[in-house]
């Protein structure tokens, strides 16, 4: 599995002018945990959607190269995209309340993913759905299989969502703030499930998050986005030695349990960050 992105841009025409949500982003990744961090409006979610060609017109995606295992995603027709979306590249969104179908039981939703991408029979799909629920550490898979989304807690719903996305055995998972709505202990358990999947199945994971500490401790590599561009790219373990003033500013303004300060440093934004030449 290899994802290659070169000079990717996303533009939205609006009545007041063109908004460039993503501007010339380049990276390549394999079976690893790649974190994309930034504040709201930095373009990180738009980038995740653009990879799956989920930007609806009049939004436009342009890139010198956007390839998944050699398949050019920008030139791909609808049939090819249908096979890739949810099959080889899956996406988990922030809030299970909005991304699960409220009028379908959890089990049926997992089966749907299995049957669309795997061409299996009903019985086999059911077994696979139960196995998926078990894989995301749901204690009583049979109960959750028959449950409606409104009957599940946030953590359960997010696990069910991940089970749906993993049912087709994707090679790449794009997770957009998958744990932001969850309590810290539940967040940790959901991340551990994703961690195991990367380690055991050789899956690639793009984790989009605003939480710098989380990304630093969980991912292998981090891209820091500001105003639609990647301003810094570095190994996650070295995030705390970041050199770009934006990354440093973001880290500095986080409150620290071990070191309460009278006042927190405030991020002073330099307009040059949006336009400067990047290494």
């Amino acid at each position: 599995m290899r994802l290659e992105v070169e000079k990717l841009s996303v533009r939205f025409p609006t009545p007041t002018g063109v908004v460039e949500a993503v501007r010339g982003v380049s990276f390549a990744m394999g079976a690893e945990k790649l974190g994309i961090v930034g504040e709201s409006g930095s373009g990180k979610s738009t980038l995740g959607r653009a990879i799956l060609r989920l930007i609806a017109p009049p939004g436009e995606v342009r890139a010198e190269r956007l390839a998944f295992d050699g398949t050019d995603l920008l030139a791909a027709d609808r049939r090819t995209l249908r096979r890739i979306r949810g099959g080889r590249i899956a996406m988990v969104l922030q809030d299970p309340k909005f991304s699960l179908n409220p009028v379908m039981t959890v089990g049926r939703q997992i089966e749907e993913a299995v049957r669309v991408h795997g061409r299996t029979g009903r019985r086999e799909a059911r077994e696979r759905a139960l196995a998926m629920l078990e894989a995301v550490r749901i204690r009583d898979p049979a109960r959750v299989y028959g449950a409606w989304p409104h009957e599940l807690s946030g953590g359960m719903g997010q696990r069910a969502m991940i089970a749906i996305m993993l049912a087709a055995g994707p090679e790449l998972l794009i997770a957009d703030e998958p744990t932001s709505a969850l309590d810290v202990t539940v967040q940790m358990q959901v991340l551990a499930i994703l961690d195991d999947l990367v380690a055991e199945r050789g899956m690639g994971l793009v984790l989009i998050s605003h939480d710098l500490d989380l990304v630093a401790s969980f991912c292998d590599r981090v891209l820091v986005m500001y105003a639609g561009r990647v301003v810094e790219s570095l190994p996650a373990g070295e995030l705390h030695q970041a050199t770009h003033p934006y990354t440093r500013g973001l880290l500095a303004c986080l409150p620290d349990i071990a070191r309460p300060r009278r006042r927190l440093p405030v991020l002073e934004r330099d307009p040059a960050w949006a336009t400067e030449e990047l290494p």
Binding site: G154, V184, T185, A192, L214, S217, C253, P255
Partner: protein, 258 residues
């Protein structure tokens, strides 16, 4: 300033009754900042709402400024105790301008020189006169939370009840709002009761913290103990460790507390 003893709050009846807050007691001296932390469903917000008399307590005693909080408190109590909510998008009237949002509490409480007060209050929360006639949708999340703080403080309360005031904001904006709250507390001698799921935010803002779980306070600690990680209750320790970032081994060893 705030004294809570044996507070119980429940919802529903009979077998389906949920005991949201069970035997909670704590005291917040005047001018202090006290934090309530816990995960969702721990009862921290319900305890806060009981102090604001927004939910009726089933048992126990709540005193603010030496007086027991009545089931239907008078205007003087409302003026003394104000609240700031989590969601700056939901807590401001979408069709009222900032001016009207700030004017309404002044009118209800019969304050004089309303125009002067609004101008001063906006300046104090770092919003210039240009913001006065804007609607909430014309403001960013941080600016809206500043308006919500201005609305609470324009009545010159002595106690501020804060329910996750920065959880919906970016970290850079969170830092600005936390600094603003700290400055206002120092300038006005306010007493804070601060509810958050974020231990780092509470450690930054509060001198004393109660950790809640399933409706009960399992541990009370001061800022120094929290900073040193010197917590005794296993749930409180687990929460503290989990807030330090992802840890594969910790994820495996997490325990569910019932």
């Amino acid at each position: 300033m705030i004294r809570v003893a044996g507070l119980e709050v429940g919802f529903g009846h009979g077998r389906r009754r949920v005991h949201a807050v069970q035997n909670v007691s704590f005291t917040v001296p005047e001018g202090a900042s006290y934090g309530l932390v816990g995960e969702s469903g721990s009862g921290k917000t319900t305890a806060l709402r009981a102090i604001a008399a927004l939910v009726p307590p089933a048992a126990g005693r709540i005193e603010v400024d030496g007086r027991q909080v009545a089931a239907r408190p008078d205007r003087a109590f409302r003026k003394k105790v104000q609240m700031v909510f989590q969601d700056p998008y939901g807590s401001l009237h979408p069709r009222h301008t900032v001016d009207r949002i700030l004017r309404e509490p002044c009118r209800i409480h019969g304050l004089g020189d309303i125009d002067g007060r609004i101008g001063h209050m906006l300046a104090e929360v770092g919003l210039g006169p240009a913001f006065r006639f804007r609607f909430p949708h014309q403001l960013s999340g941080g600016q809206r939370q500043r308006v919500a703080i201005a609305r609470a403080l324009i009545l010159e309360p002595r106690v501020l009840l804060l329910d996750e005031p920065t959880s919906a904001l970016d970290v850079s904006v969170q830092a600005e709002i936390l600094n603003l709250l700290g400055d206002l507390r120092a300038a006005r001698g306010l007493t804070f009761l601060f509810v958050s799921h974020n231990l780092a935010v509470v450690a930054q803002m509060c001198e004393r913290v109660a950790v809640m779980m399933n409706g009960r306070v399992v541990e009370e600690a001061d800022a120094g103990q929290l900073a040193a990680g010197a917590l005794a209750h296993p749930y409180a320790r687990q929460l503290l460790q989990a807030s330090r970032g992802y840890d594969r081994e910790l994820a495996r060893s997490l325990v569910r507390f019932e």
